[in-house]
Symmetry: C2
Subunit: 303 residues, 2 copies
Amino acid sequence: MTAPFARVALIGLGLIGSSIARAVRAHLPDVILAGYDEDPGVRARAVELGLIDEMADRPGEAVGGADLVILCVPVGAMAAAAAAIAPHLPPEAVISDVGSSKNSVAAALRAALPGARIVPAHPVAGTENSGPDAGFAELFRGRWCILTPGEDACAEDVDRLAVFWAALGSRVEIMEPKHHDLVLAVTSHLPHLIAYTIVHTASDLERVTESEVIKYSAGGFRDFTRIAASNPTMWRDIFLANKEAVLDMLQRFSEDLTLLQRAIRADDGDTLFDLFTRTRAIRRDIVEQGQDVAKPDFGRHSG
Amino acid sequence: MTAPFARVALIGLGLIGSSIARAVRAHLPDVILAGYDEDPGVRARAVELGLIDEMADRPGEAVGGADLVILCVPVGAMAAAAAAIAPHLPPEAVISDVGSSKNSVAAALRAALPGARIVPAHPVAGTENSGPDAGFAELFRGRWCILTPGEDACAEDVDRLAVFWAALGSRVEIMEPKHHDLVLAVTSHLPHLIAYTIVHTASDLERVTESEVIKYSAGGFRDFTRIAASNPTMWRDIFLANKEAVLDMLQRFSEDLTLLQRAIRADDGDTLFDLFTRTRAIRRDIVEQGQDVAKPDFGRHSG
């Protein structure tokens, strides 16, 4: 296929940035990759790994001549990253990002880059690991990438970016930014917040030691610890950037939890049983739609 | 090795009962397995799978001549199962179970089987699947099995049961029943309750459809759906049986969640960052102690 872009600049080379680099190498080998990361150690490592053709020492340098620039930094760092490249961004370049909240990021990009060809994006993919060594080429395969172009976005830019993500293995969807933020508040932000909370609760008890919690974690707890091991900076920024939707979902979750709490207190087994039966169907649908492995226990026993 | 028991009767042949049968076949091939399940379809299937040497049509029949009887039924069904075998239980047989709450089960067994050689047990292992086809021989390998003998238990009985579980691959621990219930409330019961709740919350929103939740579940939500697909009867019973400890843990979780909620509302990024940093260490320890796979994303990408 003809690559939709000839020169792609990646600003930020952690899990997502380095995975994009690897996926571009694998699926769009003609594309020239320019890169920058504010951490000199990460830059050196990315060069060592052969991820980037032209590593820059300053963000502005990286974007020169690029026809696609992707900001792969925590959402709280988007404004600064956009400001740093602003004087150097070619006017014809499409500028995108990979942030997990879209409304605030779009606003930050618009403010820092007036008149730029902005098409925000969010690949719904990741692992609990961070840094350039954690990335891999197949991270986006079969996962959704959501584009949230503003009303003034150019249709051709959106199409080219969609072709780019599809080439990396993603399934592409277009969504209104506010709706994206609400959907992700449920499917990603609330789960992470809950996971962080329960891991904190479990490690901060008087009558149960942390070593007991670790020892007997196979009873269910360990499932929560995976996403509670995710990048702290990234997640702090997401909760602050998508505050309104996260607090809304949290309120609903708390209400539902109170309902179950009351059912337990009142020995109301029927309410518990009915609810536990309905939740089974969701798991089945997720597996059927290829969004999780079909193996019991996440296939832990097969490895 | 010499098997610690010659004839083991399994009452209940779902995920755990059928896994015990398979593990006995694999690791203690001289043991004769008797079995019973209240569901005739499960009995027939267990025979078809070759799991049981002597399938009984009534629970009392299964325990005749056994030197170990294990009740593998939901904790709410323990009293009835114990009552059903009471007239037939050989006086020298050790009677045990696999329930996830131990204080209430011990009381039920003592009431139904006065004078019996009771050693309650809890293998901390399982998957989200149910039924005799879901079991496998290696389910207990490297997992902890907690024995909670009462003060009047015979030390030799406890030792023999410990040898039995060790032969099946388990690491064995002895614990006071009340402490067991507190530890499991944190490491297993609370996580299941939270998972059931969040899956329910996500499926019951007005502005986000269930199909959107499923589609974008790779952002974190899908991790919760696994344990929320567990056996509804089993879990209803556990929450009612371990009510006090579960409500205590739930209260602490709610307090911690309120703390995070306030931090988000107040834009207090430092509190969020500090907490998210501490939770990472727990994951590392769980993996180091062999209680979870070391692969990112549970190794989903390798399958």
